[in-house]
Structures are given as C-alpha cells and as structure tokens.
Symmetry: C2
Subunit: 184 residues, 2 copies
DNA sequence: GTCTATATACAGATAGAC
DNA sequence: GTCTATCTGTATATAGAC
C-alpha cells in the first residue's frame, strides 16, 4: 500500500461492495486503516467525495481488466467468459460489483456520482458490443450485439445479486450458458 | 388503510424499495404514519421483525400477481411480458424489487430473512419455468426452461438496477427482446 | 396503542493543536 | 497528516405513564 489514501480506498471499496456505502462509516473505515475518523476527512471531506473516488478507481481497474482480456488472443465465447469471470470472482468473495451496489443505493447519490455509474455501464456495454459484433444474431449484427451486451450485463449484475444470499451459483451459470448459446 | 400495522408496512415497503432498509429509520417511518417511533416498536420490536414482515407481504402480493396472470388466457410470450411488466412498473416508479434491494443489503440480514429471499427467487423461478416449459430451447425442454427462467429473473433484477440511475429503459427492453427471441 | 422521556451508541463533520 | 475534542444530529431500543 503506497499511500494512506490508497489504503483507505481499498478498504472502503471492499466494504461498500460487501455491505453498501450507507453501512460504511468514517469511523469504521478509519479504524480499519489505523487512523482516526477526522483524518479520513482530510482525504475525503464528505462521503460523496469518497464515493466519487471509489467509482473512479473502480472504472479504471475495470478498464484495465478489459484491456488484459483484449491483450490475449481469444474467440468471442472465451472473451465473454473472462468478462463473466470478473463477476464470478466477486460472487466467490461475497461481493457485488461496486457500481451495482451503488446503483441499488443510487437514491442517496448526487448527480455527479449517478453520472459516473452510467459511465461504468456504458464502458462495459461498449466493450461487450465489440466482443459480440459479427458473432451474434442473424439479421442485423450491430443491433443484436447491443441487445445481447445489455442482456448480458444486466444478467450478470442480477445473477450475483441473487446468488449471493443464496450461496449458490445457479443464476450466474444459467446466464453464462444462455449468452454462450446466442453466440456463433 | 385498514390497520396502522398495514399502513406502516405499506410505507416501509415503498421506502425500502426506493432507498434500502438501512436508510429507513423507525423515526422516519413513524413520522410518515403519523405516530412516534416508540409506537412503531410496538408493532415491530426490532428492525429484523419489520424486514421479515415486509418480505412476507411482498411474496404474498407477488404470488397474487402471478395468479392473476394465470387466471387470464395467454401464450408464453404474453405471460412473460406480463411478468416483466411487474419489474417495469417498479422501474417507472423509481423502485427496485423489494427482494432485489434486500439482496443487495443481504450482509445485514439474519439467516431467517436471507432464507425468505431465497423463497422469493424460487417462487419466481418455478412460475417462469411453468411458463417456459415446452416453449423454449430445442433438445431438453425442462433444462432449457430452468436456464431461461434463471436468466430472465437475473436479467430483470439487473436491468432495473442499471436503468434506474440512468433514467432509461435500455437494459429492460434488451432483456425482454432477448428472452422473447428464445421462446417459440 | 400511543405517548413522553430517556438510555446508549453512532453518524457526518469541523476546529484547532501539534 | 494526524491527533484530541467537540458539535449536532440520528440511530435502535426500552421503561413506564395514560
């Protein structure tokens, strides 16, 4: 951990993905990082500043994971499975996607942070459309690719939401199978 | 509103579906119902008791809506669209599914209430399997119906999660189109 | 059933010393 | 940067009067 700010963000991101932003207090966060809550306010004056930094960091890390998939050779099915693997990994660690969790809490977010959530979902959609293009549907590939990308992202978000309290993998396995069946 | 208990549950359910259980205080709830927070404790001693009652009521109402769909004639596509309409209605009212919201907050739920969430998702899955049976897939109808039901439910939960802060309908429309395309 | 009053704990946030 | 100390408000929950 190179800086205290980064340590705080790492701890906070895990906590939010587990229990939500509303459940995370500056005191709990400070304790986990070995400092006092007033010192957390030094880095993030208000809670919305913390949320903003968490989303920015999450988008950046997510983009890097997509670039890592792009760097390897792989057919569309394999690339989709690696994309789905990001969500499977969250489920195995009893976490949600940060932006999925914050979307559930979106009524508490300011407009700027809501817009960042949209940025995240657009990033995921655009990347998946690139994967699915020319490999989905029958008549209009582009429209079908967009439709399938949106279905896949919604399905993955919903699947880890449902499977987590269940402690199963029923939803995410079904989603993967369904999407793979629509690729050719 | 026939009883104060029912009024409290109605108000609480809307609040939870909008902002989550953690964001709802007994004081806010009491104020909305015109009583004091100590009186809310008369009906629901602890917050977990309130959560339990909300899930029970939600499952009951959801079951009634499924029975209403069953009561009308309709082909599988139409029945699925009416099922999806339950989630579209939530999205239009800026709400999530109660059990979807609580699933996001599941780390704060006791085991009994987590089990109730599983009951809800099983209810939805079993009903959709009945709709899809003999109308999905190609080789093994039952397996395909289960897979498609799980995909549809995860997709609907995720779609309203994503579309709500976006104030769009992109995800839910894509999900509906994808599922309809898999029915014959 | 609903109230007042209260207990205890925790929330976000700030001032100012070091 | 981190601290102590504090402000103000809110949280869940309970006791006991009416």
């Amino acid at each position: 951990m190179s800086t205290k700010r980064e340590e705080l963000q790492t701890v906070a991101s895990e906590a939010v993905r587990s229990s939500g932003l509303h459940s995370l207090s500056f005191r709990t966060l400070a304790h986990a990082a070995g400092i006092k809550s007033s010192s957390v306010h030094y880095y993030f004056p208000e809670k919305s500043d913390l949320a903003s930094a968490l989303i920015d960091q999450y988008i950046q890390e997510f983009r890097h994971r997509l670039e890592a998939i792009d760097a390897d050779a792989g057919d569309p099915k394999n690339r989709f499975l690696r994309f789905a693997g990001i969500f499977e990994e969250a489920l195995e660690n009893d976490r949600l996607c940060l932006c999925g969790m914050l979307a559930a809490e979106s009524s508490d977010l300011n407009d700027e942070n809501k817009a960042k959530l949209t940025d995240f979902f657009n990033l995921a959609e655009d990347w998946l459309v690139g994967v699915f293009k020319d490999h989905s549907g029958s008549h209009n590939n582009e429209i079908d690719a967009i439709k399938l990308a949106r279905t896949a992202i919604a399905g993955l978000q919903g699947a880890i939401l449902i499977d987590r309290p269940n402690r199963e993998r029923r939803s995410i396995e079904a989603l993967k199978t369904t999407v793979l069946g629509l690729l050719h």
